[in-house]
Structures are given as structure tokens and as C-alpha cells.
């Protein structure tokens, strides 16, 4: 596998300008001859599809939800970062670049991260023009808040619904192009395979989820914007339908899969209460601006939180990380919470939570101000738990959230398959080994609005004058045949266990052995257990009904089948990285104080996995990371 990053020459601050000034262009009258498939309609997919169509390309847009607006970007609560420096607190593109690179524990590519920071300001302009109702000061100008891992206020927000509002903006732009006839929209369609011709991405096989019909779609380029695979842990903050199937199937067709084990466990989620539970709801990180995290100093303290006096509370983040306190980055906050819970200081009926307390903030600012900032989050908390967080502290716990890993992409966001692009959370690019809060919406939007519309032209210019698009080819026929065979196999096992049974078992195993902490012994066990579980899946699964009809159990089964393969690569990825960095914490590699021990001399690279064929060990390739602009340091938030 050849890993050519295609990073442009020149100083860091000029690379993107130089690229834009020199990349190939497609003339306006030729764009309409070129067709692009975009899979996924979250922020990355909607913004890319809309931007391509505005430029004149023909676009086919796919989502498995019943409307593009329902993609999981809607669930992002707290905000989106941009280095506008509206607060006059010394922010700049360079500072944002440095914060992001450091937040990712120096395991991302300098040029990509700088470009993300550089394009961030444009995004706010774009969203405001679309009518996104960001929070504003009384003078009418845009408001900001701060987020974890940084010391400036660069986060823009729309109450606790920033993702929803940004997505509605992108969805409205997409809708305008649907009306204009430039985007053909396929809702309730799931991509089940990628089709290659002459080694290039040439289309997809999709299943119409309402009818079960199999469809072939051809295009000059295929863009995957299918989101993260954090749902692999089953209990997660993700939507029920979130999956890794599109990227996994692209991987099996040759796309390198990078840093599979770098998955973020978010510190502020609602704790698990029972076996029936289907998800762990995220409470926005923005709450850590005003909430203070603590546990009792006494083990197994059964007093109500209000009865525990101030001096008997351990504000452990403030104690361990005085410079950042409650705004320590997510990986650090999650590990610190797990450490306290495992040591016996957890709170709540299952002793699996910590307190997030607003009493101090309410005393300082008044309840009304807190309600204005977080009202909908407090309301959501009460709906789910039945408790009023204005009167008693929230109980929170870490839960699987974001996948920094994903398909490897170069500077142009192209995967190792020519003509196949991956944008937003489904790629590995900007966040390194840990993503900072409010950078996820940013990356999805910047990829879709501002980067791919330029870089895809550099490829499509070479596709003009090639052979006519056709789905009546041997490659399409073979891909469709393979998909049909897999679906038939899933429906014909006739066992007694459900796809969810397997998903839950896999999730518990990964939480235990490839979650907040990993070890060689645990990972080696996990690989064996995953193989056994996968083998059992193909013998004892039950999927009633057929592939020729609406069948949500079949949809789940297909996704779980892919998760059972991806999980193994995650474990290999974690096993072969003998260091701790960001969200990847190997028990064998920690400092005397229990902090992550990075080993730059051996591991300053990104692991990129090649698919070796069924039931064989994945093949490791490396993208060495070179730092020209900054010096990787020990990542300290103390």
C-alpha cells in the first residue's frame, strides 16, 4: 500500500493557498458531465453535496435515515470552534492549530491540522449566511464559550443544539439543490459495497431499505461521509443506526484503515442503569464550563450529595490539573473519572458515576443565567433520569463517543483508492489520538464546504473524456452478486440469538479490553474472543424475514457483521502501539503519576491497516509523522 500524503511544498501557512492556486480545475461547462456520489448526509455529506451541486457537478446523495436532516450531526450539542478572536483573548489560526495538535497528542499531520484552523473562520460566516441562529451578545454580535483543552474562548454555539442548527443549515443548502435538480436524493438507502473499475472508485451498490431492492449507482468519484464507528461499543452516545459498514466495506476493497483503536470515551454521559439500555446519552462538554466535577473523599459514601460538606469532596480534576481543572481534555477527564470509580469512590445506585455540580455557578450567576446557557440540557437530564439538576448535582459517567480513527486520507482527503474520498468523522485526519471538544462539527463542515470541493476537481479533471458511466458492467454485476449472497446468508442461518445480543457482547468486551485502558494481555485475549464471537454469529444468528422487504433486523445484522471484523483490527492497532497517546492508554506505558507515556522515538507514526482477506491478520503500514513547525512536547494540562 502506497501512502503518499501529497502535502504541498512551502511554509505551513501557505500550503493551502498554494494548493488552491495550482490544483487542476474543471471548467463550468464540463462540470455537468461529471457525477459524484456522496454517501451520508450529516454535516460533511450535506455540505459537500450542496457545494458540488452549486459548482455545477451532478450529485447523487444517499442516507439510510428517512430524511437527510436526521443524520447524527444533529446530536452534537456544545459548539463549533473557530479562531475568529472575537473575544480579543489572543486567538489565532496558529494557536488553534497548536491546541488541536497538542490535544491529539502530536499524532496528526501538521499540514492538515493547520488547514482546519485556517478554514475555521469561513465556516462561521457561511453558517450565519444560511440563517444558523448562533448565540449572540446583547449588542447583536456573536457570543463564545470555552471548551476543554484550550485557554481561549473560540467556541460558537446555538444553545445546546449546535449540531442540529448547523445541519439544518447544510440540509437547507442541500434541499435547494435537490429542488434545482442538481442533487438526486436517495433517502432510506444503505450503501452495501463499493464498486471499483480499473482500480478506481466507480460507484456503489445500495439497498433500498423500504423495498429491499438492490440498486447499482455509477459516478466519476465516490465520497464517503458516513460518520464514526463508536457504536461498535454498543453502549455509546451515538444513534442506533450509526455504523462503520460503508468504510469497512471500502476497506475490504483496498482502502487503508488508519488508527482504528483511537476511539474517544466521552467523560460527561449519563451512566448505565440496566441491561436493557440501548444508549448512553451525552451531556454536552460545555457543562464543564460552569459545572464542577467531584466525588466524595470517603469510599462508598451513601450520603446524599447535598449532605456531604465541602471539605469532604474531592474535586479531582481541579486537584490533579490545576491549570485546566474541569476543562481538562476528554481523554484525561475520562481516565480520571474511571480511576476514581474503579478505586471505589463512584456515586449513584450502581456506583458507576461522578457528580457534575452546578451549585457554585447558580450561586454566582443565578439560576436564570444557567437556564439560558444549558436549559435544554438540564431538561433532557430530567426527562431521562427524573432528577432536577438545578437542585442536585448531575451524575455522569464516561461513554464511547467519537472515533478519531477511520479511512486513511491524504491531504486531498482521498483514500488509498483513487477516486474514493472520506470526509468528516469517517476519515482519519485532523484529530490525532484525541479530539478536542467542538472540533468535530468544525472538521465535518470544513471538509465538506471548503476542502473537498477544491481537491475533488484535481481528480475529476482527469476523468473527463473517459468511458461513459455504466452500471451494466462485470464489476457492478459481481459486487451486486456478493452483496446478495451475504444478505441471503444472514437470513438463512436460522439460529436463536439476535444481532443485538452479539452487538452487546462485543461492546462489553471492547469496553473492558480496548476502552479507556488497554494492556497486551487484555488485547490478546480480546482478539481470540472476537474471533470466537464472530464464528458463533455466523452459526447462531436469527434474522426473521427476507432481504427482499423492509427488514430492520437484517440491517442490524449486516452492521454487526462488519463490527465483528473491525473490532479485531482495533485490537491489533492497540496491541501494536506500545505507548500511550491521547485516548490510547496502555497500562504498561504510564508515568509514575499515572499519566500517558508517549514514545516518540518508536511510535511517531500513524498505523494504517491493509485488508489481507478473510480471517487473516491485518497488515500494518506506517505513515511517519514529521513535525517541521512545532516540537512535540509532553502533553501537560497541570
Amino acid at each position: 500500500m502506497k501512502l503518499d500524503t501529497k502535502i504541498p511544498e512551502g511554509p505551513l501557512t501557505e500550503k493551502w493557498s498554494r494548493y488552491k492556486a495550482t490544483c487542476r480545475l474543471v471548467s463550468p461547462n464540463n462540470k455537468k458531465k461529471l457525477k459524484v456520489i456522496v454517501v451520508g448526509t450529516g454535516l460533511a455529506g450535506s455540505s459537500a453535496a450542496a457545494s458540488f451541486a452549486e459548482m455545477g457537478y451532478e450529485v447523487a446523495s444517499f442516507c439510510f435515515q428517512d430524511s437527510p436532516r436526521r443524520a447524527h450531526s444533529v446530536a452534537a450539542q456544545g459548539g463549533v470552534n473557530a479562531s475568529k478572536n472575537y473575544q480579543n483573548d489572543g486567538d489565532s489560526a496558529f494557536r488553534m492549530f497548536y491546541d488541536t495538535l497538542k490535544g491529539g497528542d502530536f499524532r496528526a499531520r501538521e499540514a492538515n491540522v493547520y488547514r482546519l484552523a485556517e478554514c475555521s473562520a469561513n465556516l462561521i460566516d457561511q453558517a450565519v449566511a444560511q440563517g444558523v441562529p448562533f448565540a449572540r451578545e446583547y449588542g447583536g454580535y456573536l457570543a463564545n464559550r470555552s471548551f476543554g483543552g484550550v485557554q481561549v474562548m473560540r467556541t460558537f454555539y446555538a444553545r445546546g443544539q449546535t449540531g442540529q442548527q448547523l445541519l439544518l443549515g447544510a440540509y437547507s443548502a442541500l434541499s435547494r439543490q435537490v429542488k434545482a435538480g442538481k442533487i438526486h436524493l436517495y433517502t432510506r438507502h444503505e450503501m452495501l459495497d463499493l464498486v471499483l473499475e480499473d482500480g478506481k472508485a466507480r460507484g456503489i451498490i445500495a439497498r433500498n431499505l423500504d423495498t429491499g431492492e438492490m440498486e447499482r449507482h455509477a459516478a466519476h468519484a465516490v465520497v464517503l461521509a458516513t460518520g464514526g464507528y463508536g457504536k461498535i461499543y454498543y453502549l455509546s452516545t451515538l444513534a442506533m443506526g450509526c455504523n462503520g459498514s460503508a468504510i469497512w466495506r471500502a476497506h475490504k476493497k483496498g482502502a487503508g484503515f488508519a488508527a482504528a483503536s483511537w476511539t474517544q470515551i466521552h467523560p460527561t454521559c449519563l451512566p448505565q442503569s440496566g441491561d436493557y439500555q440501548s444508549k448512553l446519552t451525552l451531556m454536552s462538554e460545555s457543562l464543564r464550563n460552569d459545572g464542577r466535577i467531584w466525588v466524595p473523599k470517603q469510599k462508598n459514601d451513601s450520603r446524599a450529595p447535598g449532605d456531604i460538606p465541602e471539605e469532604e469532596r474531592d474535586y479531582y480534576l481541579e486537584r490533579r490539573y490545576p491549570a485546566f481543572g474541569n476543562l481538562a481534555p476528554r481523554d484525561i477527564a475520562s481516565r480520571a473519572a474511571k480511576e476514581r470509580i474503579d478505586a471505589g469512590y463512584g456515586v449513584g445506585p450502581q456506583r458507576n458515576a461522578v457528580y457534575l455540580d452546578f451549585a457554585h455557578a447558580i450561586r454566582e450567576y443565578g439560576e436564570d443565567k444557567i437556564r439560558e446557557r444549558y436549559g435544554n440540557l438540564f431538561r433532557m437530564y430530567e426527562k431521562i433520569t427524573g432528577h432536577n439538576a438545578y437542585q442536585r448535582p448531575m451524575m455522569i459517567s464516561p461513554a464511547a463517543h467519537f472515533s478519531m480513527g477511520g479511512l486513511w486520507v491524504d491531504y486531498e482527503l482521498m483514500t488509498t483508492i483513487p477516486g474514493l474520498y472520506a470526509i468528516g468523522e469517517c476519515n482519519f485526519s485532523d484529530h490525532g489520538a484525541n479530539r478536542l471538544g467542538a472540533n468535530s462539527l468544525l472538521q465535518a463542515c470544513v471538509d465538506g464546504y471548503f476542502i473537498l470541493p477544491y481537491t475533488i476537481g484535481n481528480y475529476l479533471a482527469g476523468e473527463l473524456g473517459g468511458s461513459e458511466l455504466s452500471t451494466d458492467t462485470p464489476d457492478f454485476a459481481q459486487a451486486e452478486q456478493e452483496v446478495r449472497q451475504q444478505l441471503d446468508r444472514l437470513t438463512q442461518i436460522g439460529g436463536t440469538r439476535t444481532a443485538t445480543d452479539y452487538h452487546k457482547e462485543l461492546g462489553a468486551l471492547l469496553y473492558d479490553k480496548c476502552g479507556v485502558q488497554r494492556s497486551r494481555v487484555g488485547l490478546e485475549e480480546a482478539i481470540e474472543e472476537i474471533r470466537a464471537l464472530r464464528s458463533d454469529f455466523w452459526q447462531n444468528l436469527s434474522v426473521p424475514g427476507t432481504a427482499g422487504e423492509i427488514n430492520s433486523e437484517l440491517e442490524k445484522a449486516g452492521r454487526v457483521a462488519d463490527y465483528l471484523e473491525l473490532a479485531e483490527v482495533m485490537c491489533y492497532d492497540a496491541l501494536t502501539r506500545e505507548e500511550s497517546c491521547g485516548a490510547h492508554f496502555r497500562e504498561e506505558y504510564q508515568t509514575g503519576e499515572g499519566e500517558a507515556l508517549r514514545r516518540d522515538e518508536n511510535y511517531q507514526f500513524v498505523s494504517v491497516w491493509g485488508y489481507p482477506g478473510p480471517n487473516a491478520e491485518p497488515v500494518l503500514h506506517r505513515e511517519e509523522l514529521t513535525f517541521e513547525e512545532i516540537e512535540p512536547t509532553v502533553r501537560s494540562y497541570k
Binding site: S51, E54, Q65, D66, S67, P68, R69, R70, H72, V74, A75, N122, D125, Q126, V128, A129, Q130, G131, P133, A135, R136, G140, Y141, L142, A158, R159, Q161, Q164, Q165, Y171, S172, S175, V178, K179, L185, D210, A239, M240, G241, G274, Y276, Q277, S278, K279, T281, L282, R379, M380, K383, I384, G386, F450, T500, S542, V543, P544, G545, I550, S552, E553
Partner: protein, 249 residues
């Protein structure tokens, strides 16, 4: 808790549906309503029986995909929540619960409890946007918007497109959904240049999709999970009249 369920089963849009009886004997009060249905479905699938199809995704009340008619109310007995946020602690041991799809001419049933709400997408496509292109936006702070105006626009923009307003309306009107989008964009300076065409196109599309007219019963705002006010329907009507009158001049 023991719960008896009467659930709507329907093969497809053309077939006739019926209520079927199910019983769950060990329901935990802390389960969400959809988790209760998960437990029922898991049992059916283990026996090789077809699962009950229902819409859901984020399970935190924001994607708008879930929506069930529970004991005669859209999203069930509690106010200001989606179905996924309803918990079994709001029911009693021994209750019988009736579960039906959102019913409206504009929302044909696909199977069981799943309905087709693509009409909402087409209403947005007819004009629910500001015509700006990627890259042509001015500096964000170039247009100050008063705090209260931004907050009011947000109240309308908060619509999640679930369709509870339609399902509960005796006229199956989509006026609250359409009004919320018209109102959100009409209240912002960026949305004003197209306000006149937008409202007419969206209202025309709403009618073309088979949704009824608003007769101001206010049922929609009672069931709206985002508590969107019928003031936005009033603003849509105001914008509509203003637009029609100015075009007639």
C-alpha cells in the same frame, strides 16, 4: 411491571392493518419506551418471528425520527418530549398501552409503525432555505442581530421535523412545521430578501402534499416536543398575506 400492549401491525402501504396483542411481564420502570419495544422485538426475533418495525435513531430527542401514537397521543402522555425520551416510570403495573403510527394523508404507513414523512423534505425543498452559495458569505459579525431576535428565531428553528403536529391535528395540517421554518428565516435579516416567495412556495407545497388547513385548535403546540408556539403559524399567515397583497399591487 407487567404491561399489555396493543400494537398496530401492517404489511405495507396498500395492505390492511390490525391491532395485535403482546404482553411483557418484566418491564423495568427506568426503561425508555423504545427500550421496552426493543425487549419485545428481541423476544420475537429469538422465536424467529418478524420484528415490529418502528422509526428511531438518536434516542436523545433531537433527530426527530421516532414518533409513535401512544394511548391516543403523539409521543405519549408526557408533554414536550419525543417518544424516545418517554420512560416506563410514567406507566403503571398492569396498564394496557395502545401503540399506533402517526396517521395522516401526508404520512403513508410503510410498515407497522413506520411512516413516510418525505413530504416534509419536499416542503423544505420548495423554499425553506436562504439562497447562499458556499464561499459567498460576508464576515459573520457584519450583520448584528439583536439578542432577542436571535433567541426568537432559535425558538422556531428548534423544530426537529418529527411530525407530531401533523399526527395530532384533526386536519392533519403541517402548519406548525411549515410556520416554524417560515418564521425562523423571516425573523433574520439574512432571510428577508426571499421572504415573500418563500412563504408562498412553502404553503403551496404543504397543500400539494395533502396536509389540511389550520383551524387554530392549538393541538399541535401541546404535542410539540420542542414546544414550538402557534405564534409561528400566525407569523406564517402574516407573511403569506403580506406577500400576496404586495404581489397583487
Amino acid at each position: 411491571m407487567k404491561i399489555d400492549l396493543k400494537i398496530w401491525r401492517q404489511e405495507n402501504a396498500r395492505s390492511k392493518g390490525r391491532m395485535e396483542d403482546y404482553t411483557l411481564s418484566e418491564v423495568n420502570p427506568d426503561m425508555s419506551f423504545l427500550e421496552m419495544l426493543d425487549v419485545l422485538n428481541e423476544g420475537l426475533v429469538r422465536e424467529g418471528k418478524r420484528a415490529i418495525e418502528f422509526d428511531h435513531d438518536c434516542r436523545e430527542g433531537i433527530c426527530g425520527q421516532c414518533g409513535l401514537f401512544i394511548n391516543g397521543r403523539a409521543h405519549g402522555p408526557m408533554n414536550a418530549i419525543t417518544t424516545c425520551q418517554l420512560h416506563m416510570r410514567h406507566f403503571n403495573d398492569g396498564d394496557t398501552i395502545y401503540i399506533e403510527p402517526f396517521r395522516a394523508k401526508g404520512f403513508p404507513v410503510i410498515r407497522d409503525l413506520k411512516v413516510d414523512r418525505s413530504a416534509f423534505d419536499r416542503i423544505i425543498q420548495s423554499g425553506g432555505f436562504i439562497s447562499t452559495r458556499t464561499g459567498d458569505a460576508p464576515e459573520a459579525n457584519a450583520i448584528p442581530i439583536a439578542h432577542q431576535d436571535a433567541e426568537d428565531a432559535f425558538d422556531a428553528a428548534a423544530c426537529i421535523g418529527c411530525g407530531a403536529c401533523v399526527a395530532t391535528c384533526k386536519n392533519a395540517s403541517a402548519a406548525l412545521f411549515t410556520g416554524a421554518k417560515v418564521s425562523h428565516l423571516a425573523m433574520l435579516p439574512q432571510g428577508r430578501p426571499e421572504a415573500d416567495q418563500r412563504v408562498v412556495q412553502m404553503v403551496d407545497q404543504m397543500e400539494a402534499e395533502g396536509f389540511g388547513h389550520c383551524t387554530n385548535t392549538g393541538a399541535c403546540e401541546v404535542e410539540c416536543p420542542q414546544e414550538i408556539s402557534i405564534r409561528h403559524i400566525a407569523r406564517m399567515n402574516f407573511e403569506y398575506n403580506k406577500s400576496v397583497i404586495s404581489q397583487n399591487e
